[in-house]
Symmetry: C2
Protein backbone atom coordinates (compact mmCIF):
# COMPACT_ATOMS: atom_id res chain seq x y z
CA UNK A 1 0.00 0.00 0.00
CA UNK A 2 1.18 3.52 -0.82
CA UNK A 3 1.15 5.94 2.15
CA UNK A 4 0.15 9.39 0.79
CA UNK A 5 0.81 12.46 2.95
CA UNK A 6 1.86 16.11 3.03
CA UNK A 7 4.16 18.05 5.34
CA UNK A 8 4.27 18.34 9.15
CA UNK A 9 2.11 21.11 10.67
CA UNK A 10 -0.38 20.40 7.91
CA UNK A 11 -2.36 23.22 6.29
CA UNK A 12 -5.49 22.83 4.16
CA UNK A 13 -3.48 22.58 0.93
CA UNK A 14 -1.45 19.65 2.17
CA UNK A 15 -4.23 17.62 3.88
CA UNK A 16 -6.91 18.07 1.20
CA UNK A 17 -4.45 17.38 -1.63
CA UNK A 18 -3.10 14.26 0.13
CA UNK A 19 -6.67 12.97 0.52
CA UNK A 20 -7.40 13.59 -3.17
CA UNK A 21 -4.05 12.24 -4.39
CA UNK A 22 -4.83 8.95 -2.61
CA UNK A 23 -8.28 9.05 -4.25
CA UNK A 24 -6.67 9.69 -7.68
CA UNK A 25 -4.23 6.79 -7.22
CA UNK A 26 -7.09 4.53 -6.10
CA UNK A 27 -9.17 5.41 -9.17
CA UNK A 28 -6.10 4.55 -11.28
CA UNK A 29 -6.10 1.10 -9.68
CA UNK A 30 -3.30 1.57 -7.15
CA UNK A 31 -3.62 0.70 -3.48
CA UNK A 32 -3.24 4.04 -1.65
CA UNK A 33 -4.28 5.58 1.67
CA UNK A 34 -3.96 9.22 2.81
CA UNK A 35 -2.57 10.32 6.19
CA UNK A 36 -2.06 13.63 7.99
CA UNK A 37 1.11 14.57 9.91
CA UNK A 38 -0.45 16.61 12.68
CA UNK A 39 -3.70 18.14 13.96
CA UNK A 40 -6.02 19.89 11.52
CA UNK A 41 -6.24 23.68 11.74
CA UNK A 42 -9.59 25.48 11.93
CA UNK A 43 -9.72 26.17 8.21
CA UNK A 44 -9.06 22.54 7.24
CA UNK A 45 -11.71 21.40 9.71
CA UNK A 46 -14.15 23.82 8.07
CA UNK A 47 -13.40 22.40 4.59
CA UNK A 48 -13.88 18.76 5.60
CA UNK A 49 -17.03 19.59 7.56
CA UNK A 50 -18.43 21.53 4.60
CA UNK A 51 -17.60 18.62 2.28
CA UNK A 52 -19.10 16.10 4.69
CA UNK A 53 -15.97 13.94 4.46
CA UNK A 54 -13.78 12.35 7.15
CA UNK A 55 -10.22 13.75 7.39
CA UNK A 56 -7.37 11.24 6.94
CA UNK A 57 -6.00 9.55 10.08
CA UNK A 58 -2.81 10.62 11.83
CA UNK A 59 0.36 8.89 10.59
CA UNK A 60 2.01 7.29 13.60
CA UNK A 61 3.86 4.27 12.23
CA UNK A 62 7.44 4.20 11.03
CA UNK A 63 7.74 4.51 7.24
CA UNK A 64 10.77 2.21 7.04
CA UNK A 65 10.48 0.02 3.95
CA UNK A 66 7.07 1.45 2.99
CA UNK A 67 6.07 2.93 -0.38
CA UNK A 68 5.19 6.60 0.09
CA UNK A 69 3.81 9.38 -2.10
CA UNK A 70 4.64 12.93 -0.99
CA UNK A 71 2.20 15.75 -1.55
CA UNK A 72 2.95 19.47 -1.22
CA UNK A 73 6.58 19.13 -0.01
CA UNK A 74 9.98 17.63 -0.83
CA UNK A 75 12.03 19.12 2.02
CA UNK A 76 13.25 16.22 4.20
CA UNK A 77 13.05 18.53 7.25
CA UNK A 78 9.29 18.96 6.68
CA UNK A 79 8.55 15.22 6.77
CA UNK A 80 8.66 12.52 9.46
CA UNK A 81 12.01 11.24 10.70
CA UNK A 82 11.57 7.82 9.07
CA UNK A 83 11.06 9.35 5.59
CA UNK A 84 14.63 8.58 4.56
CA UNK A 85 14.08 4.87 5.25
CA UNK A 86 10.98 4.76 3.04
CA UNK A 87 10.69 4.22 -0.70
CA UNK A 88 9.38 7.42 -2.32
CA UNK A 89 7.36 6.31 -5.36
CA UNK A 90 5.72 9.63 -6.21
CA UNK A 91 5.58 13.38 -5.58
CA UNK A 92 3.07 16.12 -6.41
CA UNK A 93 4.22 19.57 -5.34
CA UNK A 94 4.41 23.29 -6.11
CA UNK A 95 7.40 24.25 -3.92
CA UNK A 96 11.14 24.39 -4.53
CA UNK A 97 13.07 21.09 -4.52
CA UNK A 98 14.36 20.67 -0.98
CA UNK A 99 17.27 18.24 -1.16
CA UNK A 100 15.42 14.92 -0.99
CA UNK A 101 17.37 11.81 -2.04
CA UNK A 102 15.26 8.83 -3.15
CA UNK A 103 16.41 5.24 -3.56
CA UNK A 104 14.75 4.59 -6.93
CA UNK A 105 13.39 6.86 -9.66
CA UNK A 106 9.98 8.14 -8.49
CA UNK A 107 7.15 9.70 -10.48
CA UNK A 108 7.49 13.45 -9.87
CA UNK A 109 5.10 16.19 -10.93
CA UNK A 110 6.07 19.68 -9.74
CA UNK A 111 4.89 22.95 -11.24
CA UNK A 112 5.21 26.59 -10.09
CA UNK A 113 1.47 27.07 -9.63
CA UNK A 114 -0.34 28.45 -6.58
CA UNK A 115 -1.47 25.10 -5.17
CA UNK A 116 -0.59 21.41 -5.43
CA UNK A 117 -4.35 20.89 -5.81
CA UNK A 118 -4.29 22.75 -9.15
CA UNK A 119 -1.59 20.43 -10.47
CA UNK A 120 -3.41 17.32 -9.20
CA UNK A 121 -6.59 18.54 -10.92
CA UNK A 122 -4.60 18.98 -14.17
CA UNK A 123 -3.17 15.45 -13.84
CA UNK A 124 -6.69 14.02 -13.71
CA UNK A 125 -7.92 12.84 -17.11
CA UNK A 126 -11.56 13.52 -18.11
CA UNK A 127 -12.41 9.90 -17.20
CA UNK A 128 -10.95 10.32 -13.72
CA UNK A 129 -12.62 13.72 -13.19
CA UNK A 130 -15.91 12.01 -13.97
CA UNK A 131 -15.37 9.82 -10.86
CA UNK A 132 -14.86 12.85 -8.55
CA UNK A 133 -17.93 13.72 -6.45
CA UNK A 134 -19.01 17.32 -5.65
CA UNK A 135 -17.86 16.72 -2.03
CA UNK A 136 -14.41 15.67 -3.22
CA UNK A 137 -14.27 18.71 -5.52
CA UNK A 138 -14.80 20.87 -2.40
CA UNK A 139 -11.53 19.49 -0.97
CA UNK A 140 -9.56 20.47 -4.08
CA UNK A 141 -11.33 23.84 -4.24
CA UNK A 142 -10.64 24.51 -0.55
CA UNK A 143 -6.97 23.61 -1.00
CA UNK A 144 -6.56 25.86 -4.06
CA UNK A 145 -8.35 28.81 -2.44
CA UNK A 146 -6.48 28.42 0.86
CA UNK A 147 -3.04 28.21 -0.80
CA UNK A 148 -3.69 31.25 -3.01
CA UNK A 149 -5.46 33.28 -0.28
CA UNK A 150 -8.61 33.22 -2.45
CA UNK A 151 -6.55 33.81 -5.63
CA UNK A 152 -4.96 36.99 -4.18
CA UNK A 153 -1.44 35.69 -3.48
CA UNK A 154 1.30 36.56 -6.03
CA UNK A 155 1.82 32.79 -6.43
CA UNK A 156 -1.57 32.60 -8.19
CA UNK A 157 -1.40 31.67 -11.88
CA UNK A 158 -4.01 31.52 -14.64
CA UNK A 159 -3.90 27.75 -14.21
CA UNK A 160 -5.10 28.13 -10.59
CA UNK A 161 -7.90 30.46 -11.72
CA UNK A 162 -9.01 27.94 -14.34
CA UNK A 163 -8.90 25.04 -11.84
CA UNK A 164 -10.92 27.05 -9.31
CA UNK A 165 -13.54 27.86 -11.97
CA UNK A 166 -13.84 24.22 -13.00
CA UNK A 167 -13.91 22.98 -9.39
CA UNK A 168 -16.53 25.58 -8.38
CA UNK A 169 -18.90 24.33 -11.01
CA UNK A 170 -18.27 20.68 -10.02
CA UNK A 171 -18.50 21.38 -6.26
CA UNK A 172 -21.73 23.37 -6.56
CA UNK A 173 -20.86 25.72 -3.66
CA UNK A 174 -21.67 29.42 -3.34
CA UNK A 175 -18.22 30.76 -4.21
CA UNK A 176 -18.28 34.04 -2.27
CA UNK A 177 -19.85 32.42 0.81
CA UNK A 178 -17.28 29.63 0.75
CA UNK A 179 -14.36 32.06 0.39
CA UNK A 180 -15.61 34.26 3.25
CA UNK A 181 -15.99 31.29 5.59
CA UNK A 182 -12.59 29.97 4.54
CA UNK A 183 -10.79 33.26 5.19
CA UNK A 184 -12.58 33.70 8.51
CA UNK A 185 -11.53 30.23 9.64
CA UNK A 186 -7.99 30.76 8.28
CA UNK A 187 -7.39 34.00 10.18
CA UNK A 188 -9.14 33.02 13.40
CA UNK A 189 -6.56 33.10 16.20
CA UNK A 190 -8.95 33.71 19.09
CA UNK A 191 -8.05 31.61 22.12
CA UNK A 192 -4.69 30.39 20.80
CA UNK A 193 -1.53 30.99 22.84
CA UNK A 194 1.87 32.00 21.44
CA UNK A 195 3.10 28.41 21.12
CA UNK A 196 -0.02 27.32 19.28
CA UNK A 197 0.31 30.30 16.94
CA UNK A 198 3.95 29.47 16.15
CA UNK A 199 2.93 25.87 15.36
CA UNK A 200 -0.08 26.85 13.26
CA UNK A 201 1.73 26.95 9.92
CA UNK A 202 5.43 26.50 10.54
CA UNK A 203 7.97 24.88 8.22
CA UNK A 204 11.65 24.05 8.55
CA UNK A 205 14.05 24.93 5.70
CA UNK A 206 17.71 24.46 4.92
CA UNK A 207 18.91 27.81 3.56
CA UNK A 208 22.59 27.93 2.57
CA UNK A 209 23.42 25.46 5.34
CA UNK A 210 21.30 27.20 7.99
CA UNK A 211 18.37 25.47 9.67
CA UNK A 212 15.58 28.05 9.38
CA UNK A 213 12.12 27.74 10.94
CA UNK A 214 9.49 29.97 9.33
CA UNK A 215 6.08 30.34 11.00
CA UNK A 216 3.48 32.22 9.00
CA UNK A 217 0.25 33.66 10.38
CA UNK A 218 -2.30 34.97 7.90
CA UNK A 219 -4.46 37.67 9.45
CA UNK A 220 -7.18 40.07 8.38
CA UNK A 221 -5.25 42.75 10.25
CA UNK A 222 -1.92 42.89 12.08
CA UNK A 223 -3.84 44.24 15.09
CA UNK A 224 -5.09 40.70 15.75
CA UNK A 225 -1.59 39.63 16.88
CA UNK A 226 -0.66 42.88 18.66
CA UNK A 227 -1.63 41.79 22.23
CA UNK A 228 0.48 38.62 21.86
CA UNK A 229 3.69 40.06 20.35
CA UNK A 230 5.79 39.93 23.54
CA UNK A 231 4.66 36.39 24.26
CA UNK A 232 5.37 35.41 20.63
CA UNK A 233 8.89 36.87 20.82
CA UNK A 234 9.83 34.86 23.89
CA UNK A 235 8.27 31.72 22.37
CA UNK A 236 10.52 32.31 19.32
CA UNK A 237 13.63 32.60 21.52
CA UNK A 238 12.66 29.34 23.22
CA UNK A 239 12.13 27.71 19.82
CA UNK A 240 15.72 28.61 18.82
CA UNK A 241 16.93 26.52 21.74
CA UNK A 242 14.53 23.58 21.43
CA UNK A 243 14.63 23.20 17.60
CA UNK A 244 18.33 23.88 17.11
CA UNK A 245 17.42 26.34 14.32
CA UNK A 246 19.93 29.05 13.45
CA UNK A 247 17.04 31.34 12.67
CA UNK A 248 13.35 31.48 13.61
CA UNK A 249 11.19 33.81 11.52
CA UNK A 250 7.64 34.86 12.35
CA UNK A 251 5.82 36.16 9.27
CA UNK A 252 2.62 38.04 10.11
CA UNK A 253 0.81 38.40 6.82
CA UNK A 254 -1.94 40.99 6.56
CA UNK A 255 -4.14 39.68 3.73
CA UNK A 256 -6.19 42.92 3.60
CA UNK A 257 -3.29 45.41 3.47
CA UNK A 258 -1.22 42.86 1.48
CA UNK A 259 2.00 43.14 3.46
CA UNK A 260 4.00 41.06 5.94
CA UNK A 261 5.65 42.03 9.21
CA UNK A 262 8.73 39.91 10.00
CA UNK A 263 10.17 39.08 13.44
CA UNK A 264 13.47 37.23 13.89
CA UNK A 265 15.21 35.20 16.58
CA UNK A 266 18.44 33.19 16.51
CA UNK A 267 22.15 33.70 15.79
CA UNK A 268 22.15 33.19 11.97
CA UNK A 269 21.09 36.77 11.21
CA UNK A 270 23.07 39.72 12.57
CA UNK A 271 20.36 42.34 12.10
CA UNK A 272 17.41 41.00 14.08
CA UNK A 273 15.19 44.11 13.99
CA UNK A 274 11.57 43.50 12.92
CA UNK A 275 10.54 44.95 9.55
CA UNK A 276 7.42 45.29 7.43
CA UNK A 277 7.54 44.54 3.72
CA UNK A 278 4.80 45.88 1.45
CA UNK A 279 3.39 43.45 -1.11
CA UNK A 280 4.87 40.36 0.60
CA UNK A 281 2.25 37.61 0.95
CA UNK A 282 4.09 34.43 -0.04
CA UNK A 283 6.57 32.56 2.17
CA UNK A 284 7.66 30.46 -0.81
CA UNK A 285 7.91 32.99 -3.60
CA UNK A 286 8.88 36.10 -1.67
CA UNK A 287 10.20 35.40 1.83
CA UNK A 288 12.46 32.44 0.96
CA UNK A 289 14.42 34.29 -1.80
CA UNK A 290 14.58 37.31 0.57
CA UNK A 291 16.12 35.10 3.30
CA UNK A 292 18.36 33.34 0.78
CA UNK A 293 19.89 36.69 -0.24
CA UNK A 294 20.60 37.52 3.43
CA UNK A 295 21.94 34.11 4.51
CA UNK A 296 23.68 33.02 1.27
CA UNK B 1 17.70 32.47 -22.08
CA UNK B 2 17.30 29.00 -20.53
CA UNK B 3 20.48 26.85 -20.57
CA UNK B 4 19.39 23.24 -21.16
CA UNK B 5 21.87 20.44 -20.40
CA UNK B 6 22.38 16.94 -19.05
CA UNK B 7 25.00 15.42 -16.76
CA UNK B 8 28.80 15.48 -16.89
CA UNK B 9 30.44 12.66 -18.92
CA UNK B 10 27.46 12.90 -21.25
CA UNK B 11 25.99 9.78 -22.87
CA UNK B 12 23.63 9.68 -25.84
CA UNK B 13 20.55 9.83 -23.64
CA UNK B 14 21.63 13.03 -21.97
CA UNK B 15 22.95 14.93 -25.03
CA UNK B 16 20.14 14.00 -27.45
CA UNK B 17 17.42 14.68 -24.86
CA UNK B 18 18.97 18.04 -23.91
CA UNK B 19 19.01 19.02 -27.61
CA UNK B 20 15.36 18.02 -28.00
CA UNK B 21 14.23 19.55 -24.69
CA UNK B 22 15.62 22.89 -25.89
CA UNK B 23 13.80 22.34 -29.19
CA UNK B 24 10.56 21.55 -27.28
CA UNK B 25 10.89 24.69 -25.15
CA UNK B 26 11.60 26.76 -28.27
CA UNK B 27 8.49 25.42 -30.03
CA UNK B 28 6.53 26.38 -26.89
CA UNK B 29 7.78 29.96 -27.31
CA UNK B 30 10.53 29.97 -24.68
CA UNK B 31 14.08 31.12 -25.35
CA UNK B 32 16.23 28.00 -24.82
CA UNK B 33 19.61 26.67 -25.97
CA UNK B 34 21.11 23.19 -25.41
CA UNK B 35 24.65 22.53 -24.18
CA UNK B 36 26.80 19.46 -23.52
CA UNK B 37 28.99 18.99 -20.43
CA UNK B 38 31.84 17.05 -22.02
CA UNK B 39 33.04 15.36 -25.20
CA UNK B 40 30.61 13.19 -27.19
CA UNK B 41 31.18 9.44 -27.10
CA UNK B 42 31.32 7.35 -30.28
CA UNK B 43 27.68 6.33 -30.08
CA UNK B 44 26.42 9.91 -29.66
CA UNK B 45 28.59 10.99 -32.58
CA UNK B 46 27.02 8.22 -34.66
CA UNK B 47 23.48 9.39 -33.77
CA UNK B 48 24.09 13.06 -34.63
CA UNK B 49 25.93 12.10 -37.85
CA UNK B 50 23.08 9.79 -38.86
CA UNK B 51 20.55 12.55 -38.10
CA UNK B 52 22.60 15.13 -40.00
CA UNK B 53 22.38 17.54 -37.05
CA UNK B 54 25.06 19.55 -35.22
CA UNK B 55 25.65 18.52 -31.58
CA UNK B 56 25.17 21.23 -28.93
CA UNK B 57 28.22 23.32 -27.95
CA UNK B 58 30.27 22.71 -24.81
CA UNK B 59 29.09 24.62 -21.73
CA UNK B 60 32.04 26.60 -20.46
CA UNK B 61 30.52 29.66 -18.77
CA UNK B 62 29.55 29.97 -15.12
CA UNK B 63 25.84 29.36 -14.52
CA UNK B 64 25.63 31.91 -11.69
CA UNK B 65 22.31 33.77 -11.93
CA UNK B 66 21.29 31.95 -15.14
CA UNK B 67 18.02 30.10 -15.76
CA UNK B 68 18.77 26.42 -16.35
CA UNK B 69 16.77 23.32 -17.31
CA UNK B 70 18.26 19.97 -16.25
CA UNK B 71 17.81 16.91 -18.40
CA UNK B 72 18.53 13.33 -17.34
CA UNK B 73 19.94 14.11 -13.87
CA UNK B 74 19.22 15.84 -10.56
CA UNK B 75 22.33 14.80 -8.59
CA UNK B 76 24.29 17.99 -7.80
CA UNK B 77 27.53 15.94 -8.03
CA UNK B 78 26.75 15.13 -11.68
CA UNK B 79 26.44 18.76 -12.75
CA UNK B 80 28.86 21.69 -13.08
CA UNK B 81 30.20 23.38 -9.95
CA UNK B 82 28.23 26.59 -10.58
CA UNK B 83 24.89 24.72 -10.69
CA UNK B 84 24.02 25.73 -7.12
CA UNK B 85 24.31 29.42 -8.03
CA UNK B 86 21.91 29.03 -10.97
CA UNK B 87 18.13 29.21 -11.04
CA UNK B 88 16.73 25.78 -11.95
CA UNK B 89 13.48 26.43 -13.82
CA UNK B 90 12.83 22.90 -15.09
CA UNK B 91 13.80 19.23 -14.94
CA UNK B 92 13.07 16.21 -17.14
CA UNK B 93 14.54 12.98 -15.77
CA UNK B 94 14.14 9.27 -15.19
CA UNK B 95 16.60 8.77 -12.30
CA UNK B 96 16.25 8.92 -8.52
CA UNK B 97 16.07 12.38 -6.91
CA UNK B 98 19.64 13.21 -5.93
CA UNK B 99 19.42 15.89 -3.25
CA UNK B 100 19.15 19.03 -5.38
CA UNK B 101 17.93 22.21 -3.64
CA UNK B 102 16.42 24.87 -5.92
CA UNK B 103 15.75 28.50 -5.07
CA UNK B 104 12.24 28.70 -6.52
CA UNK B 105 9.62 26.07 -7.47
CA UNK B 106 10.69 24.59 -10.81
CA UNK B 107 8.69 22.59 -13.34
CA UNK B 108 9.68 18.96 -12.73
CA UNK B 109 8.72 15.91 -14.76
CA UNK B 110 10.29 12.66 -13.59
CA UNK B 111 9.04 9.16 -14.37
CA UNK B 112 10.55 5.71 -13.82
CA UNK B 113 10.80 4.91 -17.53
CA UNK B 114 13.84 3.64 -19.43
CA UNK B 115 14.85 6.98 -20.95
CA UNK B 116 14.29 10.70 -20.39
CA UNK B 117 13.63 10.82 -24.15
CA UNK B 118 10.48 8.69 -23.66
CA UNK B 119 9.14 11.14 -21.09
CA UNK B 120 9.99 14.15 -23.26
CA UNK B 121 8.17 12.50 -26.19
CA UNK B 122 5.12 11.96 -23.92
CA UNK B 123 5.21 15.62 -22.84
CA UNK B 124 4.97 16.71 -26.47
CA UNK B 125 1.40 17.48 -27.55
CA UNK B 126 0.22 16.36 -31.02
CA UNK B 127 0.71 19.95 -32.25
CA UNK B 128 4.32 19.99 -31.03
CA UNK B 129 5.06 16.50 -32.41
CA UNK B 130 3.90 17.82 -35.78
CA UNK B 131 6.82 20.31 -35.65
CA UNK B 132 9.42 17.56 -35.06
CA UNK B 133 11.40 16.61 -38.20
CA UNK B 134 12.44 12.99 -39.02
CA UNK B 135 16.07 14.02 -38.22
CA UNK B 136 15.02 15.28 -34.79
CA UNK B 137 13.04 12.09 -34.21
CA UNK B 138 16.31 10.17 -34.78
CA UNK B 139 17.82 11.97 -31.75
CA UNK B 140 14.95 10.91 -29.46
CA UNK B 141 14.99 7.40 -30.92
CA UNK B 142 18.77 7.11 -30.47
CA UNK B 143 18.49 8.32 -26.87
CA UNK B 144 15.68 5.85 -26.02
CA UNK B 145 17.45 2.89 -27.66
CA UNK B 146 20.81 3.75 -26.11
CA UNK B 147 19.38 4.14 -22.58
CA UNK B 148 17.43 0.87 -22.79
CA UNK B 149 20.21 -1.08 -24.59
CA UNK B 150 17.84 -1.49 -27.54
CA UNK B 151 14.87 -2.17 -25.21
CA UNK B 152 16.73 -5.05 -23.47
CA UNK B 153 17.52 -3.37 -20.14
CA UNK B 154 15.28 -4.20 -17.14
CA UNK B 155 14.56 -0.46 -16.92
CA UNK B 156 12.55 -0.74 -20.17
CA UNK B 157 8.81 -0.13 -19.81
CA UNK B 158 5.89 -0.47 -22.22
CA UNK B 159 5.95 3.32 -22.47
CA UNK B 160 9.49 3.14 -23.88
CA UNK B 161 8.41 0.48 -26.38
CA UNK B 162 5.50 2.64 -27.51
CA UNK B 163 7.71 5.75 -27.83
CA UNK B 164 10.29 3.79 -29.85
CA UNK B 165 7.55 2.51 -32.18
CA UNK B 166 6.17 6.00 -32.73
CA UNK B 167 9.61 7.54 -33.18
CA UNK B 168 10.69 4.81 -35.61
CA UNK B 169 7.81 5.59 -37.88
CA UNK B 170 8.48 9.34 -37.66
CA UNK B 171 12.26 8.98 -38.11
CA UNK B 172 11.94 6.67 -41.12
CA UNK B 173 15.09 4.66 -40.27
CA UNK B 174 15.69 0.97 -40.77
CA UNK B 175 15.20 -0.12 -37.18
CA UNK B 176 17.43 -3.21 -37.09
CA UNK B 177 20.22 -1.47 -39.02
CA UNK B 178 20.09 1.52 -36.71
CA UNK B 179 20.15 -0.65 -33.57
CA UNK B 180 23.12 -2.70 -34.85
CA UNK B 181 25.14 0.43 -35.65
CA UNK B 182 24.20 1.97 -32.31
CA UNK B 183 25.29 -1.07 -30.28
CA UNK B 184 28.49 -1.39 -32.28
CA UNK B 185 29.35 2.27 -31.62
CA UNK B 186 28.29 1.94 -27.96
CA UNK B 187 30.52 -1.07 -27.23
CA UNK B 188 33.51 0.03 -29.30
CA UNK B 189 36.47 0.46 -26.96
CA UNK B 190 39.24 -0.12 -29.50
CA UNK B 191 42.11 2.33 -29.01
CA UNK B 192 40.91 3.72 -25.67
CA UNK B 193 43.21 3.60 -22.64
CA UNK B 194 42.16 2.80 -19.07
CA UNK B 195 41.58 6.43 -18.13
CA UNK B 196 39.43 7.06 -21.18
CA UNK B 197 37.42 3.93 -20.41
CA UNK B 198 36.79 5.04 -16.81
CA UNK B 199 35.60 8.43 -18.08
CA UNK B 200 33.40 7.00 -20.82
CA UNK B 201 30.23 6.75 -18.75
CA UNK B 202 31.05 7.60 -15.17
CA UNK B 203 28.76 9.25 -12.61
CA UNK B 204 29.25 10.44 -9.05
CA UNK B 205 26.67 9.54 -6.38
CA UNK B 206 26.10 10.26 -2.71
CA UNK B 207 25.16 6.92 -1.12
CA UNK B 208 24.44 7.06 2.62
CA UNK B 209 26.99 9.82 3.01
CA UNK B 210 29.67 8.15 0.86
CA UNK B 211 30.98 9.74 -2.32
CA UNK B 212 30.74 6.91 -4.86
CA UNK B 213 32.02 7.02 -8.45
CA UNK B 214 30.47 4.42 -10.74
CA UNK B 215 31.92 3.89 -14.23
CA UNK B 216 29.93 1.61 -16.50
CA UNK B 217 31.22 0.00 -19.70
CA UNK B 218 28.72 -1.74 -21.91
CA UNK B 219 30.36 -4.50 -23.95
CA UNK B 220 29.33 -7.21 -26.37
CA UNK B 221 31.59 -9.53 -24.37
CA UNK B 222 33.65 -9.19 -21.17
CA UNK B 223 36.63 -10.44 -23.22
CA UNK B 224 36.87 -6.98 -24.81
CA UNK B 225 38.12 -5.50 -21.51
CA UNK B 226 40.28 -8.48 -20.44
CA UNK B 227 43.64 -7.17 -21.79
CA UNK B 228 43.10 -3.87 -19.93
CA UNK B 229 41.97 -5.13 -16.49
CA UNK B 230 45.27 -4.52 -14.65
CA UNK B 231 45.57 -1.06 -16.15
CA UNK B 232 41.92 -0.34 -15.24
CA UNK B 233 42.48 -1.44 -11.63
CA UNK B 234 45.40 0.92 -11.10
CA UNK B 235 43.48 3.74 -12.82
CA UNK B 236 40.67 3.09 -10.29
CA UNK B 237 43.09 3.28 -7.34
CA UNK B 238 44.40 6.58 -8.72
CA UNK B 239 40.83 7.83 -9.12
CA UNK B 240 40.16 7.18 -5.40
CA UNK B 241 42.96 9.64 -4.60
CA UNK B 242 42.19 12.30 -7.22
CA UNK B 243 38.38 12.36 -6.85
CA UNK B 244 38.19 11.96 -3.07
CA UNK B 245 35.61 9.21 -3.55
CA UNK B 246 35.17 6.66 -0.76
CA UNK B 247 34.42 4.04 -3.39
CA UNK B 248 35.12 3.67 -7.12
CA UNK B 249 33.12 0.96 -8.90
CA UNK B 250 33.81 -0.34 -12.39
CA UNK B 251 30.76 -2.07 -13.85
CA UNK B 252 31.55 -4.14 -16.94
CA UNK B 253 28.18 -4.96 -18.46
CA UNK B 254 27.99 -7.82 -20.96
CA UNK B 255 24.91 -6.95 -23.02
CA UNK B 256 24.94 -10.36 -24.78
CA UNK B 257 25.26 -12.60 -21.69
CA UNK B 258 23.17 -10.05 -19.68
CA UNK B 259 25.39 -9.86 -16.61
CA UNK B 260 27.80 -7.38 -14.98
CA UNK B 261 31.24 -7.90 -13.51
CA UNK B 262 32.03 -5.45 -10.70
CA UNK B 263 35.46 -4.20 -9.60
CA UNK B 264 35.96 -2.02 -6.51
CA UNK B 265 38.55 0.41 -5.17
CA UNK B 266 38.51 2.69 -2.13
CA UNK B 267 38.08 2.47 1.65
CA UNK B 268 34.25 2.63 1.90
CA UNK B 269 33.75 -1.08 1.20
CA UNK B 270 35.52 -3.70 3.33
CA UNK B 271 35.11 -6.61 0.89
CA UNK B 272 36.77 -5.37 -2.30
CA UNK B 273 36.83 -8.66 -4.22
CA UNK B 274 35.46 -8.50 -7.79
CA UNK B 275 32.20 -10.33 -8.45
CA UNK B 276 29.92 -11.15 -11.35
CA UNK B 277 26.16 -10.71 -11.01
CA UNK B 278 23.85 -12.50 -13.45
CA UNK B 279 21.00 -10.44 -14.86
CA UNK B 280 22.48 -7.08 -13.79
CA UNK B 281 22.37 -4.57 -16.64
CA UNK B 282 21.22 -1.33 -15.01
CA UNK B 283 23.39 0.95 -12.88
CA UNK B 284 20.31 2.88 -11.76
CA UNK B 285 17.81 0.14 -11.08
CA UNK B 286 20.09 -2.70 -9.99
CA UNK B 287 23.58 -1.56 -9.00
CA UNK B 288 22.58 1.51 -6.95
CA UNK B 289 20.18 -0.39 -4.63
CA UNK B 290 22.82 -3.17 -4.40
CA UNK B 291 25.42 -0.59 -3.26
CA UNK B 292 22.90 1.14 -1.00
CA UNK B 293 22.32 -2.13 0.88
CA UNK B 294 26.08 -2.57 1.39
CA UNK B 295 26.93 1.04 2.34
CA UNK B 296 23.71 1.99 4.22
Amino acid sequence: MIHVFGHLNPDSGTVCTAYMAARWLTIKGRNAQAFRLGELNRETNYIFRHAGLTPPPLLDDSLAGKDVWLVDFTEPAQGPASLNESNVVGIIDHHRLGGLITQLPPEVWIKPVGSSATLLWQLMTPTIRHEISPSEAILLLGAALSDTVALRSPTTTDEDRQAVDELCSLAKVDREDFIRNLLTAKTDIVGLNADELLNKDSKMFDISGNKVLVAQLELYSLDQAEPLIDELKSAMEQRVTTSGAGLVVLMLTDISAECSRLYFAGPALTDNAPCTIAGMLSRKKQLLPWLHARLG
